[in-house]
């Protein structure tokens, strides 16, 4: 059955999403929809200073407010919780532990300094206004440069020199590469902080049952099991008495992979007050305190031959980690960037060095393709190599890309590439674009005083990646379980540790199971987000793993149950298994439709009277499959971006965006396209609009959506998508596609803008975001301040 059966043919079809009926009719259950009798509301008072020692805190007036149930200072909270620690046995990693609520030193604007539990959020915020805190102000460290400076104020006693981690790794003979080079091409990029901003912010409702001692935490999370596992210890709750659930989740983008100090405080508060406590992070809190991503500075040096062939690459990365570590450790981000950066190109020698630096900002968090800067800097470097060598951006890539014919082969970072079609997507992209026509249009536009730019890029996405890949990164590549049950009436319930928050797993897993088992799409329910019900996994939904991993677990689970059903039916229908088929929940003999038995009849027999079922058959109608990924693999895509730069206002209009993507076998093209389009919107928004900005004194500047600018429909063109579906001989040939748009779009966009700048003799971009002000500075129209 290699390649997957397709009796009902749902896999590959644009099946309408199961999720939409609930979400679009407003009947979903997000955290803020939870209402429980006597439920209390939590509000965090947050630090107004970036770095300071708390010298006094007075909560007396706050406690007197009518309707206030409890006020926790940092000391109160630390009396009932353990400090959060994300430390792992990683050599050289300095991962300070920290309390749920600060009681000693605050290290960013927005750090929780008190928690008020009250009958309403209004009352809690009233009380917060009455709390008086005095700080001794300390020097804020607001950049990696400031953090690494000699004599810089240290944020933590156990992070010497503010260096969370530093490492360098050498692959191949880098000295030889540079000594043989005809050109050394240098490039640098200073990327700004930008953020996840899911439509639903963080939050949860913790309910403590004083009789049984059970705690239930209904959270907006990407990982119910990990959240439970981490929180249990910190809140001193026996894990068997602790259940974490998640219902509809309004997006995560990586943010909700970690557990946070607010989770600890809300759960501990519920235990302390003996009831239900709701916390929904408001947008202001979210922007200030939830954390942001992408703040990295990279410098690259490429050794290349005169014809543009890459010989070697030296890379240095500084990563601004913010103050407090979260999950995963920052070394994982560095490892991801290092391991992925060579991408789908032949690279004989490579040196990568990183410094992860603590600063007085909210935490550096995962954001949709947390390693994305590797693609951004590499694809921009390829364009610069092309310029240096006098060849086109297409030629430089074509000369260096690893094609299918070259595979299997090893990346210089010791990762085997197999079935990687980045080169093929790029070839297809080039075929779809008339490059000569693009240049002619640019010339014609310049004659009219208009400026057009065109850029391309290509990449691979470790979705799910391989064992070797994750070993090189320093992160586990776990297998994925799925429990499937044929119910007593033949309907199917499947339990996944995935915690979908926009990825359509209810739809795609149902499509797969329906095809495998021969049951109706609507006769399948996918259960997720409940540690009491779903099989254990530390990973939940993230890293675009599900397309391969959760799909594989569902397919293998369904196949095992199908086998059991067919063996039983074979006895009942007196036909060999090979002659049987299942359609619409009925097992029948091929070519003899009269000889049939409903799956519900078999299931009922198995559940109620297994003794009376055919001897020697397996009557367990529930099975937990565990899928190892069959070696895993990569997704790939190539993008082309067309921009117009207004030389008077500095505004950039993305006129056209073309994607050629290959995520293998598409389970549902509509879902793939939704992910691609959303990903590109996020990538474009990140480069042009979104900025999680701090002032030099550490105050946060973009605390509402008036200043933190999300991309909206008028800022984006229609995204054109061409699919390639390279099929392997693996049972599950589907690869993840959730992050690629966000990873690659910034590269194609910046290459297009650089192309425009080059046409008028202006320098390349070295800093983001590309605001209209920055654009006019680059164009030489205005002076930089």
């Amino acid at each position: 059955m290699a390649g997957g059966s397709a009796i009902s043919g749902l896999v590959g079809a644009r099946v309408h999403r199961k999720e939409d009926r609930t979400i679009l009719t407003g009947t979903g259950r997000y955290v803020d929809d939870v209402q429980a009798r006597g439920m209390l509301h939590a509000h965090f008072l947050r630090s107004t200073v970036a770095h300071g020692r708390i010298t006094s805190i007075d909560v007396d007036e706050a406690r007197k407010v009518e309707g206030v149930v409890r006020v926790f200072t940092g000391a109160d909270m630390s009396a009932i919780t353990e400090d959060l620690s994300f430390a792992q046995p990683i050599p050289g990693l300095h991962s300070p532990s920290y309390p749920a609520i600060a009681h000693d030193v605050v290290r960013f604007v927005g750090e929780p300094v008190a928690l008020i539990i009250a009958e309403s959020r209004y009352i809690a915020e009233d009380a917060a206004g009455l709390i008086e805190i005095d700080y001794d102000i300390l020097d804020p460290i607001m950049s990696t440069t400031a953090g690494l400076a000699d004599g810089a104020t240290e944020l933590f006693g156990d992070v010497p020199g503010n260096v969370v981690h530093t490492d360098e790794q050498l692959f191949g003979d880098i000295e030889a590469a540079f000594s043989q080079a005809d050109h050394v091409v240098e490039q640098s990029l200073d990327q700004h902080r930008w953020a996840c901003n899911p439509m639903e912010t963080r939050g949860g409702v913790a309910t403590y049952e004083t009789g049984s001692g059970q705690l239930v935490y209904e959270a907006s999370t990407q990982t119910t099991h990990t959240l439970r596992f981490l929180l249990a210890g910190w809140i001193r709750q026996p894990i068997h008495q602790f259940r974490v659930t998640a219902n509809n989740i309004g997006g995560g983008f990586g943010l909700k992979f970690s557990a946070y100090r607010e989770d600890v405080a809300v759960c501990a508060a519920a235990k302390a007050v003996g009831g239900a406590v709701k916390w929904v992070e408001d947008r202001n809190e979210h922007l200030v305190a939830a954390g942001a991503a992408r703040e990295e500075q990279l410098t690259l040096q490429a050794a290349v031959k005169a014809d543009g062939t890459l010989l070697g690459l030296r890379v240095t990365m500084k990563l601004d980690a913010g103050a407090y570590p979260i999950n995963p450790p920052a070394t994982v981000y560095a490892g991801l960037v290092r391991t992925t950066l060579p991408g789908p190109y032949k690279l004989p020698a490579y040196h990568f060095q990183h410094h992860i630096v603590a600063t007085n900002k909210a935490s550096y968090i995962s954001l949709r393709g947390p390693w994305a800067v590797e693609t951004l800097v590499r694809e921009r470097l390829m364009d610069k190599i092309a310029e240096t060598c006098g060849i086109s951006p297409v030629e430089v890539r074509t000369r260096n890309l690893i094609t299918l014919d070259d595979q299997p082969t090893k990346m210089i970072t010791n990762v085997t590439l197999e079935n990687v079609t980045a080169a093929e997507t790029f070839q297809k992209l080039v075929e779809m674009v008339d490059l000569d026509e693009v240049r002619r249009q640019q010339e014609a536009a310049r004659a009219e005083g208009r400026l057009l730019g065109f850029g391309v890029g290509t990449f691979i996405e470790p979705a799910p990646g391989t064992q070797e890949f994750w070993a090189a990164v320093g992160f586990p590549f776990g297998s994925e379980p799925c429990r499937i049950r044929i119910e007593i009436d033949g309907k199917v319930t499947a339990f996944t540790p995935q915690t979908p928050h926009g990825q359509s797993h209810e739809t795609t897993l149902s499509q797969l199971i329906a095809d495998e088992l021969g049951v109706g799409f609507d006769d399948i329910r996918i259960v997720y987000g409940d540690t009491d019900a779903t099989p254990f996994s530390m990973l939940g939904t993230g890293g675009s793993r599900a397309a391969t991993m959760a799909s594989g677990a569902a397919v293998y689970g369904a196949r095992e149950l199908r086998k059991r059903v067919l063996e039983i039916a074979s006895h009942m229908l007196e036909a060999s298994v090979e002659d049987l088929q299942i359609a619409d929940g009925v097992v029948s003999v091929k070519g003899a439709p009269g000889a049939s038995v409903p799956m519900g009849q078999i299931a009922m027999g198995c559940w109620l009277a297994p003794d009376q079922m055919p001897p020697g058959t397996n009557t367990e109608m529930e099975f937990v499959a565990d899928y190892d990924g069959e070696g895993g693999g990569f997704s790939q895509a190539s993008h082309a971006c067309w921009v117009e730069v207004d030389q008077q206002t500095g505004k950039i209009e993305v006129q056209r965006f073309l994607v050629v993507e290959d995520c293998g076998k598409m389970i549902n093209p509509a879902v793939v396209e939704g992910q691609v389009i959303g990903g590109i919107a996020m990538g474009v928004g990140g480069m042009l609009l979104e900025h999680s900005a701090y002032a030099e004194d550490g105050q946060y500047l973009t605390a509402t959506f008036m200043d933190y600018l999300m991309p909206s429909a008028p800022e984006l063109p229609e995204i054109e998508i061409e699919h390639m579906e390279f099929e392997t001989d693996k049972v599950v040939g589907s690869r993840g596609v959730g992050e690629g748009g966000t990873v690659l779009a910034p590269a194609a966009l910046l290459n297009a803008i650089d192309d425009a700048l080059a046409q008028v003799g202006r320098p390349r971009i070295t800093e983001t975001p590309i605001t209209p002000t920055r654009m006019l500075e680059l164009l030489g129209v205005i002076e930089k301040e």
Partner: protein, 292 residues
Amino acid sequence: MKPAVFEYVSPTSVDEAVTALSTTDDIGDVKVLAGGQSLVPLLSLRLAQPGRIVDINGIENLSEITEEAGVVTIGALVRQAVAGRSDVVRRSIPLMAAAIPLIGHGAIRNRGTVGGSIAHADPAAELPTVAACLDAELVAQGPGGERSIRAADFFTGFFTTALSEDEILTAVRIRAAGPGTGAAYEEVARRHGDFAMAGVAAQVRLDGDTVAEARIAISGVDLAPVRASKAEAALAGRTIDDAVLDEAADATVADLSPSSDLHGSAAYRKHIAGVLIRKAVRTAAARARETL
């Protein structure tokens, strides 16, 4: 993001509203709620914590647009969307008709009022700039009765106006544009619907090919809308061409000293003010020609 406690009153007449504004009894600040598009976010963020909110939405007769003796009167409660669709506004205040589509988004304009925007006096907003450009008269009522304030005297600083605490803005009066008049509102915002980094309101009256009168105001470059008098003077009596436009724009821009923020540097704002003056005047003049 939950407002602090406030007393809520909803008068049904301007007199009642004035009473609610003037009898504060140590209640603290009193704020008028019209469309609420600026006030409600300020309340939610607790940046405004008034002791009383006077909701004027229940007052009759503040939602009318009338034209009499060459003067258009827009009641303070007229929604921006309604003003934008009004035949009177389109015909007689083409500048306002050009500016309104640039205010936020449809949902905001459906709720936001003409009077509210002017009374809020955001220096980046469109309607205060329109009022400044057209020398609007702002009609205020207080305990001592009604008075009329010239736009030039009305916008006194950053989000501040000449309205005293016990006064309410009841109407905006603007002279109707005569024949030969064209208007344009040009701005640059980070995204569609955002407050502009700078904007220019321009109204040009032509006499044949020459400019009989030019009115220009700039948003986003100072604490209040700025009237570009040097540009207006530079254009008066001239025929519009690139050189004249340059002269007008340069004369104005040289005097500007905007501040920098995350969205645009001072140099950027100065630069685009010049770009937008040229663009707005050229467009306004072209529209003026169409009416001749």
